[in-house]
């Protein structure tokens, strides 16, 4: 069965290799696609339907029904920013529909601190190049981002 992951936010889809963090660029956690948001603020939504196994201000994981986890990481080295750049709309453990708002990121506040606002979207434990049909260029929330065979 093919599982489709939707873009969780608007921006420009680029390969994980372009992310300035070796954990993502070298696909240590798995394969996927990154999205570079435009200026302003952006609301990140659930990229698949499932359960929000982890919710941090700067990142979240949705476990979809096949048991696979999709990680959305908002910016790089943003773990310390908390409320200064992020507004969380849900609680850990919630079941969410694809497209449900999860976290709003103040992109300008992230960049003002000299940090990258790029958002890696990764299928956990998928290994290098474990996903396919990678989007590139401008995407809107809900657009196809990548897929895999579950």
């Amino acid at each position: 069965m093919t599982v489709q992951v939707a873009a969780p936010l608007a921006g420009r889809a680029v390969p994980l290799a372009d992310v300035p963090d070796a954990v993502f660029a070298e696909q240590m956690l798995g394969s996927g696609v990154a999205i570079e948001p435009a200026a302003g603020s952006v609301t990140a939504v659930a990229p698949v339907a499932g359960n929000l196994a982890k919710v941090h201000p700067h990142a979240y994981v949705v476990i979809e029904p096949s048991g696979a986890g999709v990680l959305v990481h908002l910016g790089i080295d943003t773990v310390g920013l908390g409320d200064a750049a992020f507004t969380v709309h849900v609680s850990e453990g919630d079941d969410v529909a694809a497209g449900a708002p999860v976290v709003t990121m103040d992109v300008d506040a992230v960049r003002a601190r000299g940090l990258s606002a790029i958002c890696p979207v990764v299928l956990m434990e998928s290994g290098p190049d474990g996903t396919r049909d990678h989007a590139s260029g401008d995407v809107r929330p809900g657009d196809p981002l990548f897929s895999w065979e579950a």
């Binding site: 956690l29 982890k54 773990v79």
Partner: protein, 77 residues
């Protein structure tokens, strides 16, 4: 399971005496050690998805269970 992993990671970091700080974020443990020469990088890699070392800062890539493992390691310090 996390307990066991925390013990293995702590040993590979050179033991409790070598660890200054451990912080979990969603993808990795960020740790600071006293002496990087005491870190067994090969052993760390066996307990994780990857390791990034820069001076006294050692990042251990463990995925979303990082918070739990960080708490377990803190209990062992």
């Amino acid at each position: 399971m996390a307990d066991e992993k925390a013990g293995a990671i702590l040993a590979a970091l050179g033991g409790a005496g070598n660890v200054v700080e451990v912080e979990g974020c969603i993808t990795r443990l960020r740790t600071e050690v006293r002496d990087p020469a005491l870190v067994d990088e090969a052993a760390l890699k066996r307990s994780s998805h990857g390791v990034l070392m820069a001076g006294t800062v050692v990042q251990v890539v463990v995925g979303p269970e990082a918070d739990m493992i960080a708490d377990d390691i803190a209990d062992l310090l």
